[in-house]
Symmetry: C2
Subunit: 242 residues, 2 copies
């Protein structure tokens, strides 16, 4: 499985993904699930993926090929599409096409393959937007009522987001929140694993403001994880029984 989370805040977009893939429990590997496309000062797009690796890789390969093709027009390139809505539609259409092709092969084996994606970004003159693309290619969008979207193993890490994230959350707190949401998921579910990819897109920056990979050996993350465990245990001790 996978855990990816995206926040759409007044101050910007915060994205976090894990990197574990598995074909059964005995075949585990590390694959990047976060992909960024930027034409700095003009537009920035980030995509996170969950689901069958054959579907997500082919989808991303096609999107990347079109984005790098100077001759691709706005109907094919996510770096040229005239709005973030069109970017989401383009990603959705590509995902839907690839899923249908792969599923055609899988059907013969009575198996299925699917994937979902989070698409985030901003183009010059437009608002920041954050979409969740379903395997069928349709999508939903984050709003101020629900300023976050998740794909993959979303349940373990949802309570912390429900409690602390609002559109007004500052970026530093938002980074902490997604990392702690991931920490809960890592702890409770083996199918989600380090390293992590974190990206921040500040509002109107029109580029990836900050991007880093957090390795399993990262001392800062380990310290935060321990501090959160200790803080939870302290908080737990202080709560009066019912």
């Amino acid at each position: 499985m996978t855990y990816c989370v995206g926040l759409l805040l007044d101050a910007g977009i915060v994205l976090l993904s894990d990197t574990r893939t598995n074909a059964g429990l005995d075949n585990i590997a590390t694959y990047r699930k976060m992909f960024t496309f930027a034409n700095d000062g003009e537009r920035v797009v980030a995509i996170m993926t969950a689901g069958s690796l054959s579907v997500t890789q082919t989808t991303l390969a096609r999107l990347t090929e079109a984005a790098e093709d100077q001759d691709a027009d706005e109907s094919r390139s996510i770096l040229k599409a005239p709005s973030m809505l069109k970017v989401a539609e383009l990603v959705g259409q590509t995902l839907s096409d690839v899923t249908a092709e792969v599923s055609g092969k899988m059907d013969r084996m009575r198996q299925a393959a699917s994937a979902s994606m989070i698409v985030a970004g901003q183009r010059r003159g437009g608002p920041m937007r954050l979409f969740l693309i379903y395997p069928e290619g349709n999508f939903i969008e984050a709003t101020s009522d629900t300023p976050y979207l998740q794909i993959g193993e979303h349940k373990y890490g949802k309570p912390i987001l429900d409690r602390v994230i609002t559109p007004g959350t500052p970026l530093a707190d938002a980074e902490k929140a997604v990392l702690l949401s991931m920490d809960s998921t890592l702890r409770s579910n083996l199918s989600v694993g380090m390293p992590l990819d974190l990206a921040v897109i500040e509002a109107d920056a029109l580029r990836i403001t900050r991007q880093r990979r957090i390795e399993a050996s990262d001392e800062g993350f380990a310290r935060m994880s321990r501090a959160w465990s200790d803080a939870l245990r302290d908080a737990f001790q202080k709560i009066d029984p019912v």
Copy 2:
């Protein structure tokens, strides 16, 4: 859906269940999911249920009928079976039989019905035991390495259990932990709902030591829920960023 959790601790067994059932999102009702059987001083058995209501009700009705039947022998009555292992086998066999019968009817409509259960208790002269019965009737047992079992919507409430529960956890802390585990689940998943049923079986008491229903209007639970939210937010603010 449902959320039920059981803890097997040195000091005793702690059980908590919600009461929400739904047939679709537009047909929600309240049904008890925790059932207790006791012959005080001799044995105590508690069962919690998750899954298709038609399966869980029929299974419990058969188990109850046999337990109340003075003529039922140890092969049919969970109040007479010679060990907690035999109790788990009897519940598993009944669940398996009922599931097969109901599934036979459902198959014709291309639908399926299944359920899982948690069985906990102690008989005089034996240890406390806690089992999770799968829809097929087989089961697993809690151990000191993993002293808790969950059925239903288990993911939201797992992180707090993973962090605070060990076999040595005192009963008062254990009650808090299951209530906070439920609180996280209630907050993040509409298919789990108040009121709650809580039961405690102290070690070697051989009876239900304490049992209470916590209504949606319960001020103690509301206060704990608010205090936990506040404590989480405070703890969150105190964590240093990575």
